[in-house]
Symmetry: C2
Subunit: 136 residues, 2 copies
């Protein structure tokens, strides 16, 4: 498995990380996500890590990278579903996940993104997207 699927859900992208992120998979994910943000004009990226039970500094850096890259592309990143043990490990490792927002689950993460982006901007985007959908 060389790629993690990225799901488009309205104005947001959803990624569920279920496997250990080794170098190549992580690089692919970064590339794919940025390409998808650019292609779909997504305003937010949700990363679900509820299946991740072990986190290390590499994983922490990857999450930080994705958030930084997304921000340059005008999309916010929210990490959701973190297990308590993972949060403990992150703090013990001294990783504060700067620039990464967190939420308890996907629903709360979506609410957070909606709050951050604001309903006006989402509506604008829906209007922009309209004609594209019809020409598919």
């Amino acid at each position: 498995m060389e790629r993690i699927p990225i799901l488009k859900m309205g104005p947001f992208l959803l990624v569920t990380i279920q496997v250990d992120l080794y170098d190549r998979l992580a690089l692919n994910l970064e590339n794919d996500l940025i390409t998808m943000v650019s292609k779909t004009g997504a305003r937010g990226v949700l990363i679900d890590i509820s299946a991740v039970s072990i986190v290390d500094s590499f994983m922490g850096r990857i999450l930080g990278n994705i958030a930084s890259m997304s921000r340059i592309m005008d999309a916010e990143t929210v990490v959701v579903g973190m297990q308590p043990a993972v949060a403990i490990t992150l703090v013990e490792l001294g990783l504060t996940l700067q620039g990464v927002h967190t939420a308890l689950d996907v629903e709360k993460g979506m609410d957070l993104l909606h709050d951050k982006i604001g309903p006006d901007q989402l509506q604008e985007q829906d209007e922009e997207e309209g004609p594209d959908d019809r020409t598919e």
Copy 2:
């Protein structure tokens, strides 16, 4: 990894299959899904198989099982993101995925579920869910 995460998105559950479903993982997924449907009162199950490039009769049976179990629990199942090669293989294997609805991607799958369930019933459910959310 013994479990595939199940994400609750409003009245639906979303599962992204990224790994090969061997026996135990498949049984866990069936159990977890049915438990989640029962616990959350979900009206639909979305199974994303965009990362699955090889499908066999076992996988086909698992998808059929999940759909049958969900239907007994009054939830519809939609399989989304099937790769063209997978569709070809399924037909060649003579697997028609009876009782399983399909859609091109998650967004179209959600639209399909919304159509199937009807807006009135979804609204009812939102109202039912309201008090639970407040007591969390």
